[in-house]
């Protein structure tokens, strides 16, 4: 079956000034099939937000796509004309952003903002669009709040705002939703609620998801497959359970170990295992493997040669010389 989304060799860079540039996404390739939830795990500076924005060509002016293809339902989004791309945005692929308050227009009522999305893709009157907006608000669990469609964003809590954004995202029945850290700005209880909501939509509406997060726990319950990103590249990929329980790449292992272990036998207030040092500056990448300086399993050739992708199992790939034969 043809995958819903195919990304091939995507390369995106940011111009730092007239001469230098930093490669935020370095030759990324992956697929998403219909109804599948793919998680992208990575920390700040690894390029995951750039990845999300570049799929819909929403990058800021300082960034540019150097090469690659993003094929969605048979069409390459990177070369599509602007008006055709507009039809895909919101209706084929939607985005949910990290800061819900920032994604909503502060001077327009939330009901109207949802209606706006509906009217952009289907010709309908304002009255009908507003009715549908109310129905969508009910679907995301906001029906019980009195006349919430008449509220302005600043009158809502973080969780409510994020639900509104999700309502906008599902309004035109997209096939894929890109969620960029949708719960990071929310408190723990609301995080759970939002993820449950999204998972519900994935199952009921057969939506595919690309969930970008720095928190493995979010992806644990949510994703079918996980890609781990570091310094603009995919360093590991595999089924979610496998990646989280038996990670292959040293970075993934280090990342997962730096969480406090909260089992009944844990030793509280001990020092956590950390990955020493900091991620590399994307404008000044070292020769060889980007993780070599911090890697506990590093070998001498890691500093001189960039590792290739290998497939130790049919469904798992990893970018590390330790697995190359």
């Amino acid at each position: 079956m043809q995958p819903l989304l195919q990304v091939r060799n995507l390369e995106v860079c940011y111009a730092l000034d007239d001469r230098r540039q930093s490669i935020a996404v370095d030759g990324l390739s992956f697929d998403i099939t219909s109804g599948e939830a793919v998680g992208v795990l990575g920390e700040s500076g690894c390029g995951k937000t750039t990845l999300g924005l570049s799929l819909l060509r929403l990058l800021p002016k300082a960034a540019s796509v150097l090469r690659g293809a993003v094929v969605f339902q048979g069409k390459d989004l990177l070369t599509l004309a602007e008006c055709d791309l507009r039809r895909v945005r919101g209706a084929g692929i939607s985005m949910v952003y990290q800061e819900p308050g920032m994604a909503l227009n502060p001077v327009i009522r939330v009901g109207d903002q949802i209606a706006e999305v509906l009217r952009a893709h289907e010709s309908m009157s304002w009255a009908r669009a507003r009715e549908e907006a109310c129905a969508l608000l009910a679907q995301v669990g906001l029906a019980t709040v009195d006349r919430i469609d008449m509220a302005y964003p600043h009158q809502l809590s973080g969780g409510q705002k994020q639900r509104v954004v999700i309502a906008q995202a599902i309004a035109c029945h997209p096939a894929l939703i890109i969620a960029d850290e949708p719960t990071t700005a929310l408190d723990a209880v609301t995080q759970m609620e939002i993820l449950t909501l999204l998972k519900g939509f994935q199952e009921r509406l057969r939506l595919a998801f690309l969930l970008i997060s720095h928190n493995p726990d979010d992806l644990d319950h949510f994703a079918d497959r996980i890609l781990v990103m570091y310094a603009g590249q995919v360093v590991e990929e595999g089924p979610a359970r496998d990646v989280l329980q038996s990670p292959l790449h040293p970075y993934t292992r280090g990342l997962l170990r730096s969480r406090p272990a909260n089992g009944p036998d844990r030793n509280r207030k001990r020092f956590l295992e950390v990955i020493p040092g900091e991620p590399p500056d994307l404008g000044d990448m070292p020769e060889g493997c980007a993780f070599a300086a911090r890697c506990p399993d590093g070998r001498s050739l890691c500093r001189t040669r960039k590792p290739e992708e290998v497939w130790p199992e049919a469904v798992r790939r990893v970018r590390c010389v330790n697995y190359a034969h």
Binding site: S157, T184, D187, V189, D217, P260, N262, P264, I275, E278
Partner: protein
Amino acid sequence: MSAALTMRTDLSPTDEPQVLLRALALCKGYARGRTFGRNRPSIEVLRAVDLKIRAGSTLALIGPSGSGKSTLGRCLACLERPDSGEILFAGKGLVSLTPRELIPFRRQIQLIFQEPAAALNPRFTAVEVVSEPLLISGRGTKKERKERAIDLMALVGLPAHLGDRSPFELSGGQRRRLVVARALALEPKLLILDEALAGLDLSTRAQISNLLLELQKVCSLTYLFISHDADMVAHFADEVAVLHEGEIVTLGPPRLPVCSRSPHTDQSPAVTAAFSRLSGLSRQ
């Protein structure tokens, strides 16, 4: 004054030793502006909050957004005055002191915020940021202040060559460390960490968490850890207080995480019940 005296007589000889900070019946509300000279009814943020923190330990304060955690943190840091109640720091009542009398206590209680970018003056260098508290309290010569700043930076794991950089040339983790160094400049006894580990990547969070644990031992610090991150709270704290709509709902040791999403956990029933009530969710 009489309130403080009453409190002292309440302390029996067998009471827990070394209670560094004790809050008693703290109330705080915010007025909502005036209509033709009359104050509109205020919003009560804190309602008769009681808590105590033992010296050298970590008390975590958790609760949903809007429960008043940050307000409580600011009251305890003497940045705001509570409407009523008392705060005892090492036995001395703080609420009735004048601002001038409060100065030596303010130095002993430092507050670290979540967003270091907002707390750092972009026009200072890193060394200036760390030595600013010393400058304000008039300690030492310029040279001494600079040396102390570099020592503090080393204590938090920042190499000396970063001293001349602007805070915005540093990474997020390094900025966090800088804020901690600044907080340590006046040798405080109590650090109030208001969501200080929030918004960090996992590996940076682990590094800062380790740093804070180490500093607690080395500098004999006491922490009030305000957070909504259940895993870190369970890992970090000796005791957990749950704040809901301005009142302390539960207070107890964090035997196990609160509302954590890891599948391998049991729950401390009282704490879970409190959280479930707070959120209206039932546990899956």
